[in-house]
Subunit: 337 residues, 2 copies
DNA sequence: GAAATAAAGCGAAACGTTTCTGCTTTTAAT
DNA sequence: ATTAAAAGCAGAAACGTTTCGCTTTATTTC
């Protein structure tokens, strides 16, 4: 049915090895080049990746293991990563762990069985034991967005702590002191919480326990619940500003304040994370720490490709990117007046 | 390095064919069963999928081709589909077409070269010519969410027209006549527009051209822009209710009305589509046509699997699911008062 | 124009499975 | 105990490539 390299052989009269060599970028005589090209076109020949892979031990497939694909950050990241990989001829097998460590563990085994050439991972677990099957097979791994403990892995992250610190300092500079924070207990959530605390501490502001709200995962309801809680505090001790550690959280917060009839920035100032779909059209324009999504995808794919091409490039590559503050109108300057 | 079936042979003293048979579910003597099991465990043997695939001509991989993965609907669908496929031992190669027909065309070729066993597709194009490479290879295809013209394909869709019609009828029943609609020019957008028009027509309400707003793609800004436009109409002729054809559109509309200081349902009634992250926490709870996301994924995977197992099940399977109206508090009953 | 060097071509072996064919052993039935 | 049927087994071929070592052809240099 499908034509094979043997059909090309029959058509051209050349040896298998010659044809194969040319097809893989080798040199052949111009006349043979033409013969092969013509035959390929005529027979609509496509090399069988499996036969090829059997020898080269390469599937030209990358595993993309991520905590959960349904969120907006994950969706956009996946979009970029997938496109970059495809441009390089690599397929991407996605495994979504539903934010569950045991699912994640199974997924690693699954991807190891699928013999992916490399693994990109935005992990659920915070230590590296679950990666054992992939490590044992000596498959390169690059983690994205979240670091994990254990033996050091190549990774691409942003400086979350610094970003959060900058965001909160931006609030402090404008006279805010009663600043609350909403974050998750995931890696990025905790990092951003630390940045928040750091900024507060170095400004000499003590953080009231009431001003921190957290749940296990980043979600719209996390933001919504957190804001609800803050609004229940006595008027006098309500925060004047909220630091929100993620896009979905910001959605929840905005819902809560709209519902309560409170307006931003008059009554409450907001600083968030990630300029994604909704934050692009929101009014007032929100002040945000913007992550360089495309660069994150780019770097991750670049590192992985370098490992794939250069087996010897064993040097650890840990790229740290920075989020930039995108000033909007969601923060009131309390000094003026 | 990796252990092969030959190592199992050496370890057990059995023939390759016997081992292979057992590993593929065949019967062997109990003693041999044990021998093989032990050897597999001891050597940590995992069959080489490529060698296997070379013979069976199966990759145990499904292509998932979709218009764009960054949206919420796509993310959630992908989550479900991926999980179902993985449970059945299938990997899923995702190709995101960036809402671009020519990218989509390339992706089909890419997936054909990857020799996927089946294809699930939420297409950009509205006709089937781009699927040629997959069809030629005789690979089963199931379209999801959007139908395409050309030779009939298996598909899973919801009755968008009916759903939209029901949503708009719900508004009409509550005394609304000045009902506006915001939709995209994509398949689902147009279907839902048709449902809107149908409901209006059969209620004998003529639709003012000013009451329809559309852009090429569903997006937050589509909703935002649409609502902005309606708000610019003279007070007297402003719509009392909006039918929004998609989740992102609803976000945009809500942003626009919040910004304009208009409240729902007092000043404006809203009916939307899809109960996703944000609509889950919004107040007032939005009245929504809810698509059975999990069933959509389930049916699509079920159909595809049936085609894979039963080559002869050539019968066309076109599943039509229904969205259900989930009543919230976003619609004002104009009859009371 | 011959010798030396480089480039291109060739055939066979290999990759790790499954499957086919014919043979042997076990089980069941008489 | 004998026979027939069923089940299990071994060896070999096949799947469609790449790669290795060797031979042939082309190119350069004196």
């Amino acid at each position: 049915m499908e034509s094979t390299i043997k059909d090309i052989k029959r058509e051209t009269g050349l040896a298998l090895s010659t044809i194969s060599k040319y097809l893989n970028g080798g040199n052949v005589r111009p006349e043979n080049k033409k013969k092969i090209d013509d035959a390929v076109r005529k027979l609509d020949y496509h090399p069988n990746e499996m036969a090829r892979g059997l020898i080269t031990k390469k599937t030209r497939t990358i595993g993309f293991l991520l905590y959960d694909i349904s969120g907006t950050f994950a969706g956009i990241l996946t979009h970029h990563v997938g496109t970059l990989l495809r441009q390089r001829g690599y397929g991407m097998i996605i495994c979504d762990s539903s934010n569950d460590k045991s699912v994640e563990e199974q997924n690693v085994k699954f991807l190891a069985d699928k013999k992916v050439d490399g693994l990109l991972v935005v992990p659920v677990s915070s230590d590296d034991t679950f990666l054992e099957p992939i490590k044992k097979a000596n498959i390169p791994i690059v983690t994205i967005d979240r670091k994990i403990t254990g033996t050091q892995l190549d990774c691409v992250t942003i400086d979350n702590e610094e970003a959060a610190k900058n965001a909160v300092e931006y609030l402090i500079e404008r006279g805010h002191e009663r600043i609350a924070a909403i974050y998750s207990e995931e890696y990025t959530g905790k990092q951003r919480r630390d940045g928040y605390r750091k900024a507060m501490r170095s400004a000499g502001i003590t953080i009231s326990g009431e001003y921190e709200y957290h749940e296990r995962l980043h979600s719209v309801s996390l933001g919504y619940n957190g804001m609800q809680k803050f609004l229940k505090l006595p008027k006098k001790s309500q925060p004047t500003a909220i630091f929100m550690s993620n896009y979905e959280v910001a959605l929840g917060v905005v819902m809560a304040i709209n519902e309560a009839g409170i307006s931003c920035p008059e009554d409450i100032s907001l600083v968030g994370f990630d300029e994604l779909t909704l934050t692009l059209v929101m009014k007032p324009k929100m002040t945000l720490m913007v992550q360089p999504m495309e660069s994150i995808a780019n770097e991750a794919v670049r590192i992985l490709m370098s490992k794939l091409q250069n087996e010897n490039s064993a040097a650890l590559q840990r790229v740290l990117l920075y989020a930039s503050l995108n000033e909007g109108d969601s923060v009131r300057d309390l000094r003026k007046r």
